[in-house]
């Protein structure tokens, strides 16, 4: 009898914990450093790849410009940035990520640099289906001070389009707002990488802030 009551109490406690857990909103990101810096231009460095897929950095790196530029930032041309590093003997993303912020600022004249790490990229096979997943995390660093301005992560899956309502507001935004050609690319990971990049880098609450070229610049409280 006593044991039963304890059991019930335990369940009640769990339920209360869950309810209160849901009721409290996620902790808002501290944008103090970001707002003090307000970068105009972003140098996206070639992404680090923690996934086994060799082509992963291409799929992500090719699709970072759109969400950042449409959010109001100047984004340095990724193909030229990649070539400039190569011409200076830096071919590995790990070596590039280790270059001092002051040096990056000197070469490119960028306000901030974005360091991306790809954590998942490609097909995950289960019994019933094969799902393509792309996950990445990013850190935005002020190149004058070396301060961290923002960090975040995002993920996308090929399966989510099969439920209603998935994709979220940012996914809808991308399809509705941006008219771009994607039809000549055939591999299945590329569009998923595009969704993951958009989720990671489009300005949104707790995400990147809007940049100076956006009509929504400084609209966040």
């Amino acid at each position: 009898m006593m044991r039963k009551i304890f059991f019930k109490l335990g369940i009640l406690c769990c339920a209360v914990a869950l309810v209160t857990g849901c009721a409290s909103p996620p902790k808002p990101y501290d944008y103090t450093a970001f707002k003090a810096s307000r970068p105009h231009s972003i140098l996206v460095l070639p992404p680090l790849n923690d996934s086994p897929e060799v082509a992963a950095p291409y799929g992500v790196y090719a699709q970072v410009t759109l969400p950042l530029a449409e959010s109001g930032y100047y984004v340095f041309p990724v193909t030229l940035v990649d070539e400039t590093f190569k011409q200076n003997g830096l071919t590995a993303a790990g070596d590039i990520h280790a270059v001092a912020p002051a040096k990056l600022r000197e070469i490119f004249g960028a306000d901030a640099a974005l360091y991306i790490t790809i954590t998942k990229y490609g097909a995950v096979y289960t019994v019933l289906s094969s799902e393509v997943i792309v996950s990445a995390k990013a850190r935005l660093v002020d190149l004058k001070t070396g301060n961290l301005l923002w960090e975040g992560k995002a993920s996308a899956s090929s399966e989510e389009g099969k439920n209603n309502n998935a994709g979220g507001i940012i996914g809808m935004l991308v399809t509705a707002v941006v008219n771009q050609v994607i039809n000549n690319v055939t591999d299945s990971s590329y569009p998923v990488a595009g969704t993951a990049s958009s989720r990671l880098l489009f300005a949104h609450p707790n995400g990147m802030l809007y940049g100076p070229r956006s009509p929504s610049y400084q609209s966040e409280q």
Binding site: Y61, T65, F76, T79, A176, V177, P215
Partner: protein, 116 residues
């Protein structure tokens, strides 16, 4: 000021007007920029083929009075430099700098390299 700025102002104005009509508009007309960047990284298409495709896109963008995204002109300039046409590369880097003064330091670096 100059033509590029006027175009930009016009695009921004149109974007604002468009915004009132419930639909958000994009800042840039992207066309095939990102897929071409992807092809470039995979080294699937040669520079000549890319130049042809991007010039075609640029015509479409200009016809509508829109602005190409950041990096578009610079990428095109790099492709021209790779096929040995520095004379065509230089104006592209200059246009990138005109449209996006944020790129000045980097574009000046590239311009001094290819102007030699």
């Amino acid at each position: 000021m100059n033509m590029a700025y006027k175009l930009l102002a016009l695009a921004a104005g149109m974007a604002l007007l468009g915004g009132c009509a419930t639909k958000q508009t994009s800042l840039y007309q992207w066309e095939n920029y990102q897929p071409e960047v992807y092809e470039y990284f995979k080294a699937k298409t040669g520079p000549e083929e890319q130049i042809a495709k991007l010039e075609e896109s640029l015509e479409k963008i200009r016809a509508k009075g829109h602005v190409p995204p950041p990096g578009f002109h610079a990428h095109l300039g790099m492709l021209y430099a790779q096929v040995g046409s520095a004379d065509k590369a230089i104006p592209e880097f200059k246009t990138e700098k005109e449209l996006f003064p944020e790129s000045a330091t980097y574009m000046d670096r590239l311009l001094s390299k290819y102007s030699k």
